[in-house]
Subunit: 165 residues, 2 copies
């Protein structure tokens, strides 16, 4: 890039490696093989990929979670969504707002229980969800690219078992 005399990019050269980039290169041996650390690093990378991928669609992961929940069990109250997605009800408010702004979801008071808002996915929302499905699938692919099909299945099963305490 720009071989000419034009020195536009001083190039900091300072730099502490961002965690996201730092595979393990210089890391102390004690840390290099630590499962908890490997998990943290891979998860960080995964999270970065997901966030970036979704950002391109003007979405965040919570959006996906909510839309997925709505797709699976139709219209749901916010509290219900909170339970199913694990999003705190405090944070859910903003998520619903954002989804509503984008027309992916509608918030209507529940006539039968006036405490509740019933959240309903719109047609646009469903299209959006399908787009996100594809994005997510691509990301999983990229994330586990170096693994064989069998290894991928193995990984998810190992992780799954760890989560069941």
């Amino acid at each position: 890039m720009s071989t000419e005399s034009g020195r536009p990019a001083p190039e900091p050269a300072d730099e502490t490696a961002p965690v996201s980039e730092m595979g393990d290169r210089e890391a102390p041996a004690r840390l290099r093989g630590l499962p908890s650390r490997l998990l943290a690093l891979t998860a960080a990378r995964a999270d970065r990929l997901v966030s970036e991928g979704l950002a391109e669609q003007d979405a965040r992961k919570w959006h996906y979670a909510v839309l997925a929940a709505l797709d699976e069990h139709g219209p749901t109250s916010q509290a219900g969504l909170s339970r199913r997605t694990g999003i705190y009800r405090s944070d859910l408010v903003a998520v619903i707002n954002e989804l509503a702004e984008r027309g992916h979801v509608e918030r209507t008071p529940d006539p039968e229980d006036r405490r509740r808002n019933v959240i309903t996915m719109t047609a646009r929302g469903r299209e959006h969800l399908e787009r996100l499905d594809r994005v997510l699938a691509d990301i999983q692919e990229e994330l586990m690219e170096p693994l064989s099909k069998a290894e991928r299945a193995l990984l998810t099963s190992l992780l799954g078992r760890m989560l069941d305490h």
Copy 2:
């Protein structure tokens, strides 16, 4: 609280499941098997265990990283530590301060390059590191408890490969 008369603990009963607790119980099928999500959840759990375990020793994970680096390559400048541990130099300041307060580390100006501080691990620091080693080992054990020895090795190798892009 404590109004004597048998107040059986109000028990919020409200509750959105904390991410840390939420295995997958009610999660939408779309999310349930998503590798990026499984990674995030297990990593979150791991992180929680590690943070709590280290907190009991009045330590944080950065402390461990720095001590490990110092143990491996003797005294090092802060910038050097930053590179090896992946901690941003901005944040490293506080970490060194904390370690210094606890007497695990000494910060001395480098006479040969007066820009640098040379960080040296003390004897107490080394003892501390060994304590942390044990704590960490226990945590890995707990974390991967449901996995066989072979599966544990498999998991770390899969994760390792994913990290090498």
